[in-house]
């Protein structure tokens, strides 16, 4: 395409000089040379040679400079020949019939050859012009292919058309019955105003042409070209209607792409919704089934059940309710993360204090779980939301206990390090495979090998979402040592190291 562009620019430059002085001088030179040759031949009494020389000159001029100049040359030559050269010299008189025939023949053939040569030259010119026009359109079309958004179409069209003298370009697109200026997205514009007014009317010698765009679904709006006089005079190079058609095509394509990506996003959110629904229905139904079975057994078979069995069933109901509660809380938290968490509700809180709250819940939920703590003295104030931080720490510890393998010890260490409060929860379980490590913070992710252990697949997603909102990070290290164990490391910036003073 590059060569086309080069060709185009060359053509434009030559077209921009309307009448070339050089070619006029050339024509005159040929004419004078032919006249001199004719005069010389005539003086040697060679009338046929002289006529042929003159004729050659006229043909050359016609071929070089077109029909008009060819005819001018032909008439000039026949007049000069008749007046100066043929007998009687310095008069138009013709003495014999013998002299009339060659003279007439000369005049007629000079004019006809000039006309023919000129027309050949002109049609060659217009063929070149047509080729250049096509090249222009190809170039524009080629560039427009790259556009993905409607705004890009305008940008590319401007870049491409500027060399042709188009100083300004406006595209008004019709969407749902309203007209929008691409550059002023959002507000619809009044069609009449858009047609009449031009934002670049700066009093210069500019012409305006408006072309309608037609797309696959009918009226697509219109394009307004504002161009210099030079362009409107010299360059018939740009076929504005053809350019408009190309723009319409590109805009149509962009709008279709838009609709397509919207449809894809919708599909994605539908997929997410159905993932949520299937997870919700599974995770709600499992505890509900247990509750329902236990409660109905207690009602129907109360008399045949031993006190220990009854106690067992009541405990099941209670446990499953706790599970349901935690699950709904997770779903709510997921909603909060999706809606975006504002830092405006954050305050200075001490991670040690929240850890204490969490540990008392953990000991209730997992009374047999051995836990070791390593709490370094020092600053552990962070800027966060207490309830959310509680959820983060609980989810991480719960995850380590559930996936840590049996009753092995969970180590919780808390310290300040490089401006961060660092909470590390380490288990001695089988560890997390490298492939799974990338996924554990994803919504509804449950490792293949761990599915049986339950869990909603939301705990770590929520922990990460909240920690991110606090400006911190949550990462996983596995294995910790000897090919086993997993460490979850939370880092939250210390309130003292926050750039703008935390709220007091």
């Amino acid at each position: 395409m590059l060569c086309y562009r080069k060709l185009m620019q060359q053509t434009i430059h030559s077209k921009q000089k309307p009448v070339s002085l050089a070619s006029l001088v050339g024509d005159l030179t040929i004419f004078l040379l032919a006249t001199a040759g004719t005069y010389f031949a005539q003086s040697l009494d060679r009338p046929i040679t002289s006529v042929l020389i003159y004729l050659t000159g006229v043909i050359l001029i016609g071929a070089r400079s077109g029909v008009k100049k060819g005819i001018v040359a032909a008439i000039g030559a026949s007049s000069i020949y008749n007046f100066f050269l043929s007998a009687p010299a310095f008069g138009f008189g013709v003495s014999t019939a013998d002299e009339i025939v060659p003279l007439l023949a000369f005049n007629i053939s000079a004019i006809v050859t000039a006309a023919v040569a000129g027309r050949t030259r002109d049609s060659a010119m217009s063929a070149t012009l047509a080729e250049a026009k096509n090249a222009t359109l190809l170039n524009i079309s080629d560039r427009l292919q790259q556009a993905v958004e409607v705004a890009e179409v305008l940008e590319i069209a401007r870049q491409t058309l500027t060399p042709y003298g188009v100083t300004h370009l406006e595209i008004h697109v019709r969407r749902e019955g309203q007209l929008y200026d691409i550059e002023m997205a959002g507000q619809p514009v009044n069609a009449l105003n858009a047609l009449l007014k031009s934002r670049s009317d700066n009093g210069g010698r500019l012409s305006v042409k408006t072309c309608e765009m037609v797309g696959t679904h009918g009226d697509l709006g219109f394009v307004k070209f504002i161009f210099t006089e030079a362009m409107s005079a010299g360059g018939k190079l740009l076929d504005l209607q053809a350019v408009t058609n190309l723009l319409a095509l590109a805009i149509d394509r962009c709008m279709l792409l838009d609709a397509l990506s919207e449809a894809r996003a919708l599909q994605k959110s539908e997929q997410l919704k159905s993932a949520i629904l299937s997870s919700v229905s599974h995770d709600l139904r499992t505890p509900l089934t247990a509750i329902s079975a236990a409660a109905s057994s207690l009602r129907s078979y109360e008399k045949s059940l031993s006190p220990a069995q009854k106690e067992q069933m009541l405990a099941t109901i209670s446990e499953q309710c706790t599970k349901l509660n935690r699950y709904t809380a997770n779903l709510l938290d997921m909603g909060r993360i999706q809606a975006g968490i504002s830092a405006s509700g954050f305050e200075e809180i001490d991670v040690v204090e929240i850890l204490g709250v969490v540990l008392s819940h953990v000991r209730q939920s997992f009374p047999k779980q051995p836990i070791r703590k390593e709490i370094a003295s020092g600053e552990t104030l962070v800027c966060a939301n207490g309830v959310m931080l509680e959820q983060v720490i609980f989810n991480i510890i719960e995850n380590s206990i559930i996936h840590g393998g049996g009753q092995s010890e969970v180590l919780i260490s808390l310290r300040a390090e490089d401006g961060f409060c660092v909470l590390e929860v380490t288990d001695s379980g089988p560890g997390i495979t490298r492939a799974d490590q990338a996924d554990i913070f994803r919504r509804f992710f449950r490792s293949e090998s761990q599915v049986a252990r339950g869990g909603s697949g939301l705990g770590l997603y929520i922990a990460k979402g909240f920690v991110d909102a606090f400006g911190g990070s949550l990462e996983v290290v596995s294995p910790v040592k000897d090919g086993a164990g997993t460490a979850m490391i939370v880092r939250i910036p210390l309130a003292a190291s926050m750039p703008t003073g935390a709220p007091k």
Partner: protein
């Protein structure tokens, strides 16, 4: 004690009725703000269990009116993550809150704490707080932990006193700041430091406190899980 349960969910009322009735409480119920106000005007209510999401009004907005008639203790029933609502309700005059869903033991403990506080408020200022581990004498400012005397600074003592006088109930940061610094806008950093000092002196493991519990986003609560004796 007369208890008014305000909740638009009949299942919750149905579940609470037998147990609370069995504990000797007299129950009244209302399913909307309008009927709650009507009930509290007609009957001498001692305690209101108030759900915040009522069909005809925000529960927080009727706390003041509920308190007009017989000055009942108001306990808010609220979702866990709505700590802003809790603080607002407590500022509006509510005495305590309990997260939904709750266990019946937790609810009964709150009711007992409210009842005890109400009984003490009826008498002249209580002079002592006694649990099986903690013994606090207000006039002499003496504190004993499992029989051992604990030395507290004046500020530590005033904070502990507020917590003890509201034992079992949440005390907002704001109330503690007023008690300790006479200024609700004081830096909460001071409060945290003094609570940490108190825990150093009173808790077996300050990082897992058993007496002075943190209520994230709201304040502190003195635990009364141990059997209480009042004087």
């Amino acid at each position: 004690m007369n208890i008014l349960i305000v909740d638009d969910e009949p299942a919750i009322i149905a579940a609470l009725k037998p147990v609370l009735g069995g504990q000797g409480y007299v129950l009244f119920t209302a399913d909307c703000a309008k009927s709650a106000l009507e009930m509290s005007r007609k009957h001498p209510i001692d305690l209101v269990l108030l759900d915040l999401g009522l069909p005809d009004a925000d529960g927080i907005d009727i706390i003041g009116k509920l308190k007009e008639y017989s000055d009942p203790t108001v306990i808010i029933l609220s979702a866990r993550h709505l700590e802003k609502d809790k603080v607002r309700a407590l500022d509006e005059g509510a005495d305590d809150y309990i997260n939904k869903p709750f266990g019946i033991e937790e609810l009964l403990a709150r009711l007992r704490a409210a009842q005890r506080r109400k009984r003490l408020a009826g008498k002249s200022e209580a002079s002592k707080f006694v649990s099986d581990q903690l013994h606090v004498d207000f006039p002499t400012r003496q504190v004993r932990l499992m029989g051992q005397e604990v030395k507290l600074s004046p500020k530590e003592f005033s904070l502990l006193e507020v917590l003890c006088r509201n034992a079992g109930q949440v005390v907002t940061q704001r109330k503690l700041l007023i008690a300790g610094w006479n200024d609700p806008a004081a830096d909460s950093q001071y409060l945290r430091s003094y609570i940490a000092l108190l825990r150093q002196k009173l808790e077996y493991d300050p990082s897992e406190p058993e007496h002075i519990l943190t209520e994230p986003g709201v304040g502190y609560r003195l635990s009364v899980s141990h059997k209480l004796k009042e004087m």
